[in-house]
């Protein structure tokens, strides 16, 4: 009584990927297991911690609350896709390192994705807007102070590059 498998096609980090998954397979598990992209982490499996945040057609979503089959044909960006094709780090990635915005690094991919979306929509956010923008992500190491600093720094870096 094996489970029925569904063929899905996703564009993940700009690359067309195919997978065969049961209907109940979470996007987070599909990314990690079927596609081998283990940068997306799972911290609670109930959509609160934000570790599993990825960009779905550019918008941040909880991949642990998303069925893989429901995003057939869509574009996904994971932490692995934030760097340039040549491996150059994105401004958000650089800023996180520069500002010591990560410690154990487990929540970091989710923060990076949230911050990337935030800055794309609002290239020069205020302090309150940054805090609001990352308020869907839990971290247990950093106390968030350096994450807030990093988001501002990333805005600066993006401004310099623009």
């Amino acid at each position: 009584m094996g489970e029925a498998l569904h063929e899905i096609t996703l564009t993940v980090n700009g690359v067309l990927r195919e997978a065969k998954v049961p209907g109940r397979r979470l996007l987070s598990d599909c990314l990690r297991r079927e596609l081998g992209l283990t940068g997306t982490h799972v911290g609670c499996e109930h959509g609160v911690c934000g570790c599993c945040t990825v960009l779905l057609d550019g918008a941040p979503v909880r991949s642990c609350l998303t069925f893989a089959v429901s995003v057939d044909g869509h574009e996904i960006t994971t932490v692995e896709g934030l760097s340039g094709p040549d491996g150059s780090l994105s401004p958000v990635q650089r800023a996180f390192s520069e500002c010591h915005a990560l410690q154990c690094g487990f929540c970091t991919p989710g923060f990076l994705c949230s911050a990337t979306a935030l800055l794309r929509d609002n290239p020069s956010p205020t302090d309150d807007e940054v805090v609001e923008g990352i308020s869907g992500n839990l971290g247990r190491c950093t106390g968030y102070q350096n994450i807030v600093k990093a988001v501002h720094r990333a805005a600066e870096l993006m401004g310099d590059e623009a």
Partner: protein
């Protein structure tokens, strides 16, 4: 001038892989492994009548189902009691799978192995366990009455009872000193449960190699060496056949020092038995109900003091809730009892604790490890004394401080490492001066009055602590320079985000005079370093940092001896700079460290151009001495250990300004300031990061986090939806200042920094709320509803 990196804000070397999704956490490994899932008890206290697995047998992809009955000798035995203590007269540990009785919701009863986790959980859901309910024992005081028992052979549910007493300088006991004091206060304090709650839960992945009968286990642990010894012992394998690796670990904060967890025994056992890789990754609910909590205590305080606020006698009685089992002994209440005294030199002290069983998740150290409760007790006491005498709260503290010329200062107690509680160094008056200046203590009254005039309610609070850090028994370091000039450092303790790869590389680069990018660091991998204790008690920098420094000094001495031979110079005239050994004042007479490494290993066979230099016909060797001199070993490497006579004592003071809403009782932290003394700083950026994270956890404990058990022993808020951890919106900006009083107890003069941030936060926030409200705060955490109720109580 050598390469100076110690003390610099060096960027972390861990970051690149972690910001690009290339980290290796345990669940990132073993994609094809079988998955384990567990059937866990839904009841807090019950007898297992029957386990019926028949419905699960048809699940597609099912591989195996195990109950306690299926486990072989040793594997089936109770888990070890890790830290025995004479006062722990009734220590009890769990079976890896429940045998007959379950004692808390979440206790593992059946293990299922299947092709993937979805299927393993399908099967687990179909297993029927028939339970006979027993009376659950919940709540510290109810449990202490002993009407119902968690373990039938533990009367009064009391696992341990310990009294420590220090008489006054005049020889009075605490009771006498209090009775004789001009002022006496007595009160009760309550501290709720919280938990480490790392974003990555526990996880174990085991690979059994049937061909050479060896086992490789990856575990999200704070102590891979000790997990290795436990697994070898449980599975009856020779120690060299077992390797345990802590890969990238997604936070620990104490909970992952406990070991072996049931899963750390069962997963490798199943992998051996099945001849296939097996992995288990804890989910969030499992972490809430099956790992460990901390903090819960009730304290009764009696204190006697004089008109200036000098504490003449202090008597504290603690009821400590250790949950259903005691695998980690009574370390937490011992730390509460001993670290309670903080930076103070008081008259007589008596502390008594009883450690109580309840039908709840076991209690083991969470960052701070008993100190937040002790500091809460002492600092609330200081505030009460100040209020009673009408004195400034900082004056009362200053009146009781140990003075800088009184170190080493013996508190007369036995600490958590079994050694005397003797403070090594510190400067508490200076620390107080700094924190008052940073927060603006003296100008606050005006600020408060001004706010009050506008209908706003502000309060200021302070908290002081001393933290025994860097406990033994030891750590080691191994340093190897290879022929390419790279430096490979390893140490046995583990990392969970503390930046060890960076700070240990800073130490090695500084000691050896090499560029930082030539140094790589491996932690928590028994293949590289087999002897270690683990990462806990703010000990990694002190213990492994010094061990690595000592190992580097051995390597440096050896490098200079070999280079001196090659350069025909006196080793004392040599220095190493940028990875090159050269004669002081004569940069031309030099030899790269990589070449020294080649020469350190006399060869018969060359495998590249560089190694030709060390072969037997190269003409460099003296014909009068053996190729490897007596007392020397081949290779440019060294190993050393650091084992201190006792702990170092870091300290700090925090202050906060809070605002409470007169209508909604909402509590907002407007400012938070930290003065921190962890001895010499290796990397101030990393230390500040540790402080920020600690304070954030402290804010959680002070205002939000509590484990809510109902009378049936059900944890009602076992999810991130209901257990309120702070988001960025809840944590204030933290202003930090450093004071550096080096420790005389280790070559680098460092103390520990990992736990400091969390320790005084509850005390500070309570102090500030009390100041804002004029209502005595005697419990933590304080939610708006709690404050609302306290207001109503105070008004009635």
């Amino acid at each position: 001038m050598t390469t100076k990196l110690f003390g610099e804000r060096v960027q972390r070397r861990e970051d690149l892989r972690l910001i690009t999704g290339q980290g290796r956490y345990v669940d990132d490994l073993g994609n094809g492994a079988l998955a384990a899932a567990f059937v866990r008890s839904p009841h807090a206290h019950a007898r297992i009548r029957d386990i019926d697995v028949s419905a699960a047998l048809d699940v597609d992809g099912l591989v195996a189902i195990y109950t306690w009955e299926d486990l072989p000798e040793r594997v089936r035995d109770p888990l070890p009691l890790l830290i025995p203590h004479p006062a722990l007269t009734h220590g009890r540990t769990a079976y890896p799978l429940a045998r007959e009785i379950v004692r808390h919701v979440g206790e593992p009863v059946v293990m299922v192995v299947a092709r993937d986790r979805y299927l393993a959980e399908d099967a687990a859901a179909l297993i029927e366990v028939d339970y006979e309910f027993l009376k659950p024992v919940v709540g510290i005081e109810e449990a202490a009455q002993g009407a119902h028992l968690v373990h039938q052979d533990v009367p009064g549910n009391a696992g341990a009872h310990l009294v420590q007493e220090v008489p006054s300088p005049q020889g009075l006991g605490a009771g006498e000193a209090i009775d004789a004091a001009p002022h006496v206060l007595s009160f009760r304090l309550d501290f709720e449960r919280s938990a480490s709650m790392p974003l990555e839960g526990r996880g174990v992945y085991a690979r059994w190699d049937a061909d050479d009968r060896s086992l490789r286990v990856f575990s999200s642990t704070q102590t891979s060496t000790s997990v290795r010894m436990a697994i070898a012992s449980k599975l009856g394998l020779p120690l060299p056949s077992v390797e345990v690796i802590a890969p990238d670990v997604g936070g620990g904060f104490g909970v992952k020092i406990v070991h072996p967890w049931p899963e750390e025994v069962l997963v490798p056992w199943a992998a051996m038995l099945l001849g296939q890789e097996v992995k288990w990754i804890e989910d969030r609910r499992e972490h809430f109900i099956s790992s460990a909590h901390e903090r819960g205590q009730v304290q009764h305080v009696r204190v006697g003091f004089d008109d200036q606020g000098h504490v003449l006698g202090l008597d504290v009685t603690i009821l400590h809730d250790h949950g259903a089992y005691t695998p980690y002994g009574i370390i937490v209440p011992i730390i509460t009892a001993t670290q309670l005294l903080g930076p103070y030199r008081i008259g007589a002290y008596r502390v008594e604790f009883t450690s109580i069983y309840t039908n709840t998740v076991q209690v083991t150290p969470y960052r701070g490890a008993g100190r937040p409760q002790g500091v809460f007790c002492m600092e609330r006491t200081m505030d009460r004394i100040a209020a009673h005498l009408g004195l400034d709260r900082t004056e009362v503290r200053a009146a009781n401080f140990i003075q800088p010329d009184q170190f080493p200062y013996d508190q007369g107690l036995i600490f958590q490492d079994g050694r005397p509680l003797i403070y090594d160094s510190g400067d508490y008056p200076e620390s107080l001066r700094m924190i008052k200046e940073l927060i603006g203590w003296d100008g606050f009254a005006a600020l408060k009055a001004e706010a009050e005039a506008r209908g706003r309610r502000l309060g200021i609070g302070i908290g002081c602590y001393v933290e025994g850090t860097g406990v033994g028994p030891y750590e080691g370091g191994h340093v190897q320079v290879t022929s390419d000039g790279r430096v490979h450092v390893s140490t046995g303790l583990t990392s969970q985000g503390q930046g060890h790869e960076t700070v240990f590389a800073q130490i090695a680069a500084t000691e050896l005079g090499v560029p930082l990018d030539k140094v790589s660091v491996v932690t928590g991998d028994t293949r590289r370093f087999g002897y270690a204790v683990g990462t806990f008690a703010s000990r990694a920098a002190v213990m492994s940092g010094n061990a690595i420094a000592l190992a580097c000094r051995k390597v440096r001495d050896k490098a200079l001896r070999i280079a001196a031979d090659a350069l025909e110079a006196d080793p004392r005239d040599l220095e190493i700079e940028d990875g090159v050994v050269h004669v002081v004042g004569n940069p031309g007479a030099s030899i790269p460290l990589g070449t020294v490494a080649v020469l350190s290993n006399p060869l018969r066979y060359a495998f590249d151009e560089e190694t030709k230099r060390a072969t037997q016909f190269s003409g460099v060797a003296s014909m009068d001495r053996p190729p490897v001199d007596e007392g020397e070993e081949p290779g440019l490497e060294g190993r050393d250990y650091f084992s201190p006579v006792r702990s170092t004592f870091a300290s700090g003071m925090h202050a906060a300004i809070v605002e409470t809403d007169p209508d909604t009782a909402e509590i907002r932290i407007l400012r938070y300031a930290v003065v921190h003394d962890c001895g010499r700083l290796i990397n101030p950026m990393i230390v500040e990061g540790q402080i920020h994270g600690g304070v954030a956890q402290g804010v959680g404990g002070a205002l939000y986090e509590r484990m809510v058990y109902d009378g049936h022993g059900q944890l009602l808020n076992a999810s991130f939806m209901d257990f309120l951890m702070p988001y960025a919106t809840e944590v204030p900006y933290i202003e930090t200042a450093h004071l550096e009083t080096p420790s005389p107890l280790n070559p680098l003069g460092i103390k520990g920094a990992g736990e400091a941030g969390v320790i005084p936060v509850s005390a500070v926030i309570a102090s500030a709320i009390e100041d804002a409200e004029g209502i005595t705060i005697d419990r933590m955490p304080i939610s708006p509803s709690d404050l609302h109720e306290l207001r109503a109580l105070a008004a009635s």
